[in-house]
Symmetry: C2
Subunit: 297 residues, 2 copies
Amino acid sequence: MKQVECVPNFSAGRDVRVVEAICDCFRRTETVQLLNSSCDPDHNRMVVTAIGAPEAMAQAILQAVGVAIQSIDLNTHKGTHPRLGAADVIPFIPLQDMHMEEAVELSKRVAAQLAETYQLPVYLYEYAATAAHRRNLADVRRGEFENLAQKMQDPAWFPDYGPHTPHPTAGASIVGARPFLIAWNVNLKSEDLSLAQAIAKKIRQSNGGLPFCKALGMRLDAKNMVQVSMNLTNFSVTSMLTVFEAIRSEASAANVEIAGSELIGMLPLEAVVQSFAQALQLESFSSQRILETHQRV
Amino acid sequence: MKQVECVPNFSAGRDVRVVEAICDCFRRTETVQLLNSSCDPDHNRMVVTAIGAPEAMAQAILQAVGVAIQSIDLNTHKGTHPRLGAADVIPFIPLQDMHMEEAVELSKRVAAQLAETYQLPVYLYEYAATAAHRRNLADVRRGEFENLAQKMQDPAWFPDYGPHTPHPTAGASIVGARPFLIAWNVNLKSEDLSLAQAIAKKIRQSNGGLPFCKALGMRLDAKNMVQVSMNLTNFSVTSMLTVFEAIRSEASAANVEIAGSELIGMLPLEAVVQSFAQALQLESFSSQRILETHQRV
């Protein structure tokens, strides 16, 4: 059975009514499962993780974006996480019986539908991108909502669908297809933002750090802490434990302890197995040694 | 569907033909899956892990014990692991749709059948034990094969089934039912047996160490190393990582590093999840955050 994961990010992390109304769009759609939703009041952002049949997922997304557009006004939205719109990023991830090409097609259908239904400008990104410079999320989002009207005047940044002016309150959305990634934050027992930023810079690939690791230092005002916020795009090469040990080592050099870590959304069993085996120096371990892998219903 | 796990231990860890002949008994039984077999030439012992339907498992065991009795002579058997017989220990572990009482009944039927078929004395142990002093495996096995004839004269140690004299070459078997346990060994970069024994004594519950941890120090001649060999009988209370850190700390105090660790047989997903989350200080993580938990076939 074809299964797609969708991990939409909405610019709402403080108002429980908005968060619940968005979650309900996934809960009430048959053959879609809402697996997780994480809100961060400092980021003022929510991340939904849902899996399900592709067409049903498209319908749930259409509804959820409608709720976000009705409820969120980017003109008054504040948060530490960069964002371009109310329904900021909508990635489709092919899971079971589905190829990347199918996820790309699905993302384009959804993008076109969102643009038409809500008069919303939509950019395609990652595997769905229509030009090399539009592939990277950070590049598409650069300037954020506040500079979007100006950015859209540049033909290099005309939207792929919808009007060439931002939605007055919902900005624009970024829709695409990508492989699975692990979104994961490590919190430090410190309020020193520059430390979190220095650690992020040290470990991320773009500054010569760990392969397939993206990292940003952020402040968590609600917790009086700072955080290294990460995406791991190939955990087979760089495991979560390798990243954790690198952060612990850098933090320790500054006499700072790790407070804890938090996963955003889901992860594949292989990522768990890998760091588990690494932590225990387990020889020739695989998911085949896990009982549940063999149990029949 | 009812499913039972069986983890029989046979006193054969050097002769590949014997090992394979025993494994074949499980491979060729329908509705039984051979999940794993581990041999240790130093222990001169093999551990089979199989799951399947209870009656099919009983048939596979009957055949495998027959092969062991034909192939193994305890009079010439040498190995570092204590043993009472050729088919030394045969525990049944209730998994899916099965209660401990059913596993106890199954173990008694198998014990009676082994005794009758092979004129083999059989002791019941753990949840199947017929007296409190016969519950603990180490007590039943104490004296090993070499002192078995004498032990059997004592009415306290009359077998539960079969003749009151050891099988001339196969000794006796110990059959029972028990909850799941993790069999796991940590190898040290050292040839100092007394160090492995001291660490085992320090960490095991019976000497005031970690709850639900049984441990022995052993020599691994084949690897020029020593090993802490363990059973963890309640990993929810004492995790693998907690045990690993304790061993690492004790070894480190003696300037010895851990060479690696090896799992014997299988473990439940929860044991993996627990040590994974502990290693990464992950907050509010559970197996529900693993994608495969939700995938539909």
